[in-house]
């Protein structure tokens, strides 16, 4: 028999391409971001919850809400955050801040990077970010917008 202490393994790799379809409702939402720099949400006609990013149905009342649009202001509050200090493979170089943002008038939150924070001193930086602090959305120029959540940035609203 061969040396039983020798253990073998075989290399493998997953690298496949996809195109993720946004569908009608989300396409409208993303096109509003891109073309008009507007944040449009859908509102449930029964429970009145305002859902952002826009969704075609209310999962609680279980009714279609794809025709009930409301515009939201480009400001809100920071609901939760983290300061990422290590490198994850395939993800951005640290440090960076990720936050859940609740826009004024919305009942749901969106994830985004929180920019405009000085991250040179991590310990200091983490104390300048507070749950509940006001934030604002700043749209990129029309040429830079491509119908994605990255068409705007989020920063503290001082």
């Amino acid at each position: 028999m061969a040396n039983k202490n020798e253990l073998l393994s075989v290399p493998g790799q997953w690298n496949m391409s996809y195109n993720y379809s946004a569908g009608e409702t989300l396409s409208k939402f993303l096109i509003e971001l891109r073309d008009n720099a507007r944040i449009m949400a859908t509102k449930c006609t029964q429970c009145n919850r305002v859902i952002l990013p826009a969704r075609s149905y209310c999962e609680r009342c279980f009714i279609p809400i794809k025709d009930n649009w409301v515009e939201l202001p480009a400001r809100g509050t920071l609901e939760a955050f983290t300061l990422v200090n290590i490198k994850f493979e395939g993800l951005p170089d640290p440090p960076y801040v990720i936050a859940y943002i609740k826009l004024e008038g919305a009942d749901t939150t969106i994830p985004h990077f929180l920019t405009g924070i000085d991250l040179t001193d991590i310990q200091k930086a983490r104390n300048t970010i507070k749950v509940g602090m006001p934030v604002r959305l700043i749209f990129k120029s029309r040429e830079q917008r491509e119908g994605r959540m990255t068409d705007f940035i989020v920063e503290p609203d001082s």
Binding site: E79, A80, T82, V84, I86, E89, G90, L91, P111, I122
Partner: protein, 391 residues
Amino acid sequence: MGRRVAIVGTGQTKYRTKRFDMSAPDMVYEATSKALDDAGLKIQDIDAIIFGMAPEALDGINSMDKWCSCAAAARGKPFMRIHTGGATGGSAAIAAAYHVASGLFDVVLAVALERVGETPDAQRILNRIYDPILASDFALNIINVVAMGATRAMERLRFTEQHMAMISVKNHLNALNNPYAHLQIKISIEDVLKSPLVCWPFKLLDCCPRSDGACAVVFACEKKARKLAPIPAWINGMAAITDVITEGETGSSTGPSSEAAWKAYKMAGITDPKRQIQVVECYAPFSAMELMLYEGLGFCKPNEVAQLAESGFGEMTGKVPFTPSGGVMCSNPIGATALIRIAEAAIQIMQKGEKRQIPNVQNVLATGAGGSPGVVSASFNTAMVLGLKPH
């Protein structure tokens, strides 16, 4: 809830970063045969198999269930795979219990597996569980999303990094008593606080490892259970609660997880968990999650979390020991993790815990959570109450 169901045997592999010494079916075979031995059963005594495995990209093989089915004693029998992220093992156990409770099957095996060690960075893969159009652009993964829930919880429940460190020290100490545990290191509060910052407020030692491993649990009807096990672990309550898929929608309320626990408590006749539950095997891969569960699972009021941690409430000698096994913080083969909670809960009832055994255990709670968003409010939440006596 249909017929009475009890756990009559459990089996686990040793958890490690990478099991170079075993193929995936080897691990399933080892956990399964240990569970069969523990229950005193042969392969022909098993009527059906529920198999748990989380996202396939973690293991790098599509539909690994087909590769592992026969290592789980499934040849010639009904077999199905369950996947609810981190709650996979909890859902698999509930499905196995449903099978027995239905009266259609007498003895059912739940087996769960994960090989997280095959890929160098699981968090890159876990970034892909988020909506590719709305969320994955923002570098989300499990560590940073849970960290976000923790920053919010620290605000609401008034606990600090020190309290989180206490939980980590306690779990690492407990893992020294568990021969299957992955991380077996003695650490101090200072070690935790001085370990590298990963995602604020989590330092390295506030976080679970990623593990290879498998776990198997045998579920039996009352008639068989009384014959097979000297002390069967009776499933007196179980519940699964599903919540929204949109990340962050529920912020970080303790809603769904606590809802699942209270539903299971109700079935089991538990009205005062602090008095009636003696051990909790909670699903808490990060230190802050366990603190949040003190409140979420009904062991204290929101303003008492810090005080409870300081009092040593969840320690081995505390009022209600949390994760005598060392918990998820010390072993995390993702799809198997919530089933390990149930196996360890059964071990406590069956008095097979050896060095990690808690004396006089009547009722144990085991929880599971998976599929992201916030900390204790995940997409999928499971709870199971095991008892020394059938309710």
